[in-house]
Amino acid sequence: MKKIEAIIKPFKLDDVKHALTGLGITGMTISEVKGYGRQKGHTEMYRGAEYHVEFNPKIKIELVVRADMADKVVDAIREAALSGKIGDGKIFVLPVEDVVRVRTGERGEAAI
């Protein structure tokens, strides 16, 4: 099993979610994060003093999938999250050793 972590632009969330459910994915977890990267932040003035917003708002999507699904999922996210502009984000693939579904106690792939 693999854990896919994708950092995307917030307004792409809907598209990515559709792409994933299109693949038959039934679960994912998202959170709000801030990203620092090649996409620079912006500088604003507040009462005449500058302030730099170096971190851009991003959404992090985490989902655990069967190992054989990982590539398809990564591709689907990539396509859906793509705007072509800097700051589109990253996808990371991590190994997962076990999964448990709290409700049923199922473990492993059955629990995903």
Binding site: E44, M45, Y46, R47, G48, A49, E50, Y51
Partner: protein, 449 residues
């Protein structure tokens, strides 16, 4: 005492009733006319008293304005404390002014410099005294106290914003007590209490100097002794922006202050019960409104040209600057001149905020600029617009109020600093003063702390 609409106590002034019902016979006419005169004095007294109470209530409402403005311009971790300071200072100011402040300010003085000292409020005017005065006692003494007490709270409110986010709550309240008991009343005595500034012909209609410059001078002393907020100035010495956490609150606060100012300036005419006074109060309302409008528009435009963005907080300060400036004389200038005074104040305040920020005097809400700098400007402008005004006298008044307030405040702050301390610990400041001082968070569910 409250009662149903049906069983009312008879009207006190039987004169009118008599006139209405009985008076068709000739001989008694003159006598009854005297009664008519008394009734009219009573009516005028009632109208003026009511006008005082209503405008006083509007000024009291400014306390909410300062609280919201300041709560909106600080960080959320320091919001509970600034709220506590604002509502508690109002209470403290009311009590101190009741105990002796009012008497110091308006009681008989020892000399034109040194006020007298007495405690608690004197007796209300009796009907007899009023009638005998032929109407020259125009309103209730209690209403007068009520109107005056809300002014001292305003002066003290100015301070809380400038020292926000780092001053100890109880030290601040101790200062507020001293300020409303002594510092403000003494300055007030010099002018409105009939002291030497009055004698000189100082022009300060509703308190650009007595209230706003006074508040700002006290704040300046505090800020200098207190130092800047941690992190306000980078290692390179450049000012960093510390954005306010809730701009709708700041905007609401400004609207409240704007509304309250109609009471502040409008009530300071002190009387409305004849044509001349009613016209004067109306002029004051119009000029107050238009100066605020001018200040807002000017500050917003200047921010747009200077920073490239329409900085809302500068617009809010611009409106307040216009209000503070016109307060010195909202009666003599025409609405167009008042607009101009507001416009200039709006421009000044933006520049002043930036200048003071660069001078490393850390004033989170811009109180020094809004109340001090534009208050001074307003007083000088009044020296020109008021027919009886003189720039020299205005400078004297400005100097007197500033020196007295600054010095007395400095001593008070210093005494507090040396004893209980005035600044929270670095750790508490970092974590936010709310938890350390009040044990509460303003928005426990949403703050990203």
């Amino acid at each position: 005492m409250k009662n149903s609409a049906t069983s009312r106590t008879k009207r006190f002034w039987a004169g009118a009733a008599a006139l209405a019902g009985v008076m068709l016979a000739g001989p008694a006419a003159a006598e009854e006319a005297a009664s008519a005169g008394e009734t009219m004095i009573q009516l005028a007294y009632s109208l003026d008293t009511f006008y005082f109470l209503m405008t006083g209530a509007l000024v009291m409402w400014m306390g909410a304005g300062f609280a919201m403005l300041e709560a909106g311009l600080v960080r959320s971790k320091n919001t509970v404390e600034i709220l506590t300071k604002n509502i508690a200072l109002y209470a403290v100011a009311c009590l101190m002014y009741l105990i002796a402040g009012y008497n110091i300010m308006y009681g008989p003085g020892l000399s034109s410099f040194i006020p007298g000292l007495s405690f608690f409020l004197g007796a209300e005017h009796t009907a007899d005294a009023i009638l005998k005065s032929g109407g020259s006692i125009t309103h209730s003494k209690m209403a007068d106290f009520f109107f005056q007490v809300v002014f001292v709270a305003t002066a003290t409110s100015i301070v809380s914003g400038a020292v926000a986010e780092r001053m100890k709550l109880w030290s601040f309240l101790a200062f507020a007590a001293v300020m409303s008991l002594v510092i403000y009343p003494v300055g007030g005595y010099w002018h409105w209490g009939g002291g030497f500034l009055k004698a000189l012909g100082f022009v300060d209609f509703a308190g650009s100097g007595v209230v706003h410059l006074c508040g700002a001078s006290a704040a300046l002393a505090g800020v200098l002794l207190l130092g800047a907020r941690k992190g306000k100035y980078g290692p390179d010495g450049r000012a960093k922006a510390i954005p306010g956490s809730n701009l709708p609150l700041a905007t609401l606060g400004t609207f409240i202050l704007w509304l309250g100012w109609f009471g502040f300036n409008g009530g300071s005419e002190l009387m409305i019960s004849n044509i001349k006074e009613a016209n004067a109060v109306s002029m004051v309302f119009v000029n107050t409104n238009t100066a605020a409008a001018g200040g807002l528009v000017a500050a917003l435009l200047l921010a747009q040209f200077w920073f490239g963005k329409a900085d809302l907080t500068m617009a809010l300060n611009g409106a307040l600057a216009g209000l503070v400036a016109i307060t010195a004389d909202p009666l003599s200038p025409s609405p167009v001149v008042s607009t101009l005074i507001g416009v200039i104040a709006g421009l000044i305040v933006v520049a002043s905020i930036i200048f003071i920020d660069k001078a490393k005097i850390d004033d989170p809400v811009g109180a020094l600029s809004v109340h001090g700098v534009t208050g001074t400007f307003g007083l000088l402008a009044a020296g020109l617009t008021n027919p009886g005004g003189s720039v020299l006298v205005q400078l004297t008044g400005i100097g007197a109020i500033f020196v007295w307030t600054f010095a007395a405040s400095f001593v008070t702050w210093m005494a507090l600093k040396k004893t209980v301390g005035i600044r929270v610990s670095e750790e508490d400041e970092l974590a936010g003063v709310d938890l350390a001082e009040c044990g509460l968070e303003a928005y426990p569910e949403f703050t990203r702390d």
